[in-house]
Symmetry: C2
Subunit: 290 residues, 2 copies
């Protein structure tokens, strides 16, 4: 196996993975990805590697978390560049299973995780039915395959992060789930593989999503829960007037996703810009502006 500072061990079978896992004497930290890596993913790897622990990243475009008509087919696949980027970021191994390795049984015999409606049927889940069930199913498989001591998820996909935290708690999975802050472009746009769907003119508008969320968070912090419903509607209007097709703007409790009540709240939004579906979220507190 290659072991240089800028090399990475490529694992694409359960046997190879089991051998690699058995050879790790200490902890293993894990970064799940769907590939097409950007600086946000690499921050997750750096976070995972920070105490010198072995880091493994998975690259798997998981079909079960895409709905009909979503972008599973055109989701960008960039394996060679991804492996190079992972190696540079200090990742020790890449787990790149085929679909039949991740889902060994015929579809009619496949098991699923059902995430609780309270967490999974609101926000993005209300617009992407079954999405979080698919995420939970693949993460549960990955956790059994890798049995990491720690796994790192980005706050950009906050609902996903929270659902995985609760799933791990509910099933007593012995893994710590770390959150890494959203990485942004200089103009505030949250990094996302889907940003490449933006045209040049859409790219100029895109950072406004974050600015609107910051403004809503400021106003929510100042004006209190009585104003949240008005702020939500106002957020939808502001995004629409900027050229977005907003899917939702919501204020929710950061731990339960119940409607926000003035303590530990976050503002969440999803909005289309052209064919790109963008999501973002910020804590309800005075925002540090760029």
């Amino acid at each position: 196996m290659a072991t240089g500072p800028d090399s990475i061990t490529l694992l694409d079978s359960l046997d190879a993975l089991a051998d690699w896992r058995a050879a790790q004497s200490g902890s293993v930290h894990f970064v799940p990805t769907m590939g097409n890596l950007h600086a946000g993913h690499l921050k997750l790897v750096e976070h995972a590697a920070q105490d010198g622990t072995a880091v493994i990243a998975s690259i798997f475009v998981n079909p079960t978390q895409f709905g009909p008509g979503e972008d599973f087919e055109r989701y960008p696949r960039t394996l060679a560049a991804d492996l190079e980027a992972l190696a540079s970021a200090g990742c020790d191994a890449a787990w790149t299973p085929a679909s039949a390795t991740m889902y060994p049984l015929p579809e009619a015999y496949r098991f699923a995780i059902r995430a609780p409606a309270a967490l999974a049927d609101c926000l993005c889940g209300a617009h992407r039915p079954g999405h979080f069930d698919g995420v939970c199913g693949v993460v549960m498989r990955l956790l059994w395959q890798l049995r990491p001591e720690r796994a790192v998820f980005g706050e950009k996909d906050y609902q996903q992060l929270l659902i995985i935290r609760r799933m791990v708690e509910d099933f007593s999975v012995p893994v710590a789930i770390d959150a890494a802050p959203t990485v942004r472009e200089a103009d505030g746009l949250a990094l996302s593989s889907r940003n490449r769907y933006l045209t040049d003119s859409e790219r100029e508008i895109a950072p406004a999503l974050y600015r609107v969320l910051q403004a809503l968070a400021d106003e929510a912090a100042e004006q209190g829960p009585g104003t949240f419903d008005r702020l939500r509607r106002s957020g939808m209007e502001r995004l629409a007037s900027l050229g977005f097709r907003p899917e939702y703007v919501e204020l929710r409790n950061a731990e339960t996703l119940a409607p926000a009540d003035g303590s530990d709240d976050r503002v969440f939004a999803a909005a289309y810009l052209g064919r790109a579906r963008l999501i973002d979220n910020v804590a309800v507190t005075r925002q540090n502006r760029l």
Copy 2:
């Protein structure tokens, strides 16, 4: 901790369990139970212990696998006798979690496993909606809690055994699932905690369930798949004429539970006798009669 030959380590918190698990240098074998142990359970323990490996049994009456109107409330709880029996059978530890330990999240935030309809919505699953989802959910939790190298299930609950095998395969859980043959009374009645619901006169009728299944298996082996539908109906009639209220009699493939086709088939039945719901199954082959 007690360590004599007829003693057993009682574990009732995740912390105590983690300490015990970490102290096992070799493999751990696992026998899941709902308590009220009989000789059938103890055979599972003996099977699990046969190569000198540490054996842990769980005792947990799992609410999520009981339907409304089923016997969750009156299911017999006999912890002291169970622990004594486990110790005598060579079990090293008993895992007896409280419900809040097994299911730490409020019900609205609980995750579930959805077993595939092809396996879970036929036979017992057709009459106990959600039953196997509940079984899968608790077994998935137990597997994370204990991380055993091997787990032993009885063939008496054949559909459960098969579903757990497939779940473990589908999620890449690193555990071997062993099957232990059904243990029977001298007159052929399969041992079951629910046999205690039988009155004396019902107890005399009860062994006929096994005899009918043996006869059907003989006839199916001799007469071939063309007769299976007739045999199924005949089985229902024979059970009814003996005083049972049969729920189903089915011939199914032993690996897929698809309708039997003449190779690797089993006969399955469930039938009420008074308030006891009895189940049994046998392979389609010339039966060795008692």
